[in-house]
Symmetry: C2
Subunit: 199 residues, 2 copies
Amino acid sequence: MIIFAAMDTDLILQHVAQHIRLDEAEQTFFNSLLHPATIRRKDHLLLQGNVSRHESFIVKGCLRTYTVDDNGQDHVLMFGIEGWWISDLYSFLTQMPASCFIDALEDTSLLQLSKPNLEKLYEKVPKFERYFRLILQNAFVAHQQRINQSLSFTAGERYLEFVRKYPGLEQRIAQKHIAAYLGITPVFLSMLRRKLSGK
Amino acid sequence: MIIFAAMDTDLILQHVAQHIRLDEAEQTFFNSLLHPATIRRKDHLLLQGNVSRHESFIVKGCLRTYTVDDNGQDHVLMFGIEGWWISDLYSFLTQMPASCFIDALEDTSLLQLSKPNLEKLYEKVPKFERYFRLILQNAFVAHQQRINQSLSFTAGERYLEFVRKYPGLEQRIAQKHIAAYLGITPVFLSMLRRKLSGK
DNA sequence: AATAAATCTTCAACTACTTTAATTTCCATG
DNA sequence: CATGGAAATTAAAGTAGTTGAAGATTTATT
């Protein structure tokens, strides 16, 4: 006998409900398209050059999307925490090779939606087109704001913005990852944090 | 008697043709939805806080999308040149107030597509959904690359990337605008250019 | 054409951030 | 619980980029 793990779908349904209204049948159908997955700390969800086959909703844990430059240094495009979707959006939409890596910074549990299942969802419950369009728009705006901040903010201001955007995350993950997100060295981040806490 | 200005639609049809295939009737219908407009150097196409009512295709000239920070300094999110669409995409999609200004750096001629006309276009020629989805995806990827470059490139490397992305534009516009795009001072850009040309 | 205004260049002094390296703290694993 | 390796801290010296100020060049206005 096979026992299916109970899916923890509260968080994701709550997230959807913030954008569109679903009846019970629609919720059930949506759930039936989601595949639970877990990924261990330090394991990869996506490798650069591979195609991003799923959108992954983070139920618990933390991931990072990053690139590696010619000198072998990491640069973090975004973190994903509970209640966020994560993927290489471009790769997922176009089914072209991804330009980033995604790996887990903590043991993480996900609910995954494959491209074919997303198409089925759009067909049966067109309201979801609106939902994912809003997700894409928010991602777009977030990128735009980050460009703006990289032009106008000092490293200290960018750090405070990071804390505002990912509350509590500064306690959970290694500082070198935060530094790679801010575009500074871990050494300088350490100095910044001392200065900020010191006053 | 009113004489309508002849629309120069070659460039835009060529641009569309790179992504989707249109028959003659579809081309004519598309053209009928476009409104030509001109905007003088230094005039605004969009003010922060206003709603972006059109997508504007640039036939000739040059625009910049920018924000102004608390110290009164400009930061350039993007330039638009011949063959590009420009708008505050978020404001256009959501019809919420724009977070940026757009103004002309040269006398510029545009072909504008209003939100209602875009809806009509989608209805009659659904292929255009694909076209504008590709435009949005490209914009998204461009933003992502720029974030990446702001994390990993020096100012000199970012300048070279700017030249690659906007060929010839470095000859056409004021250096202070390029500096505001790169996130450096005009003084430092001046030093960079001397160094780059000097070898 | 003359003048005013904006922009660009150059230099020198300054600040934000990096690099290197030594020391300490934190955890993962045997 | 011991220990080896990764990550964080600190300090000192170096570099990328800023600021301010003066002069030169370009662009706009009358």
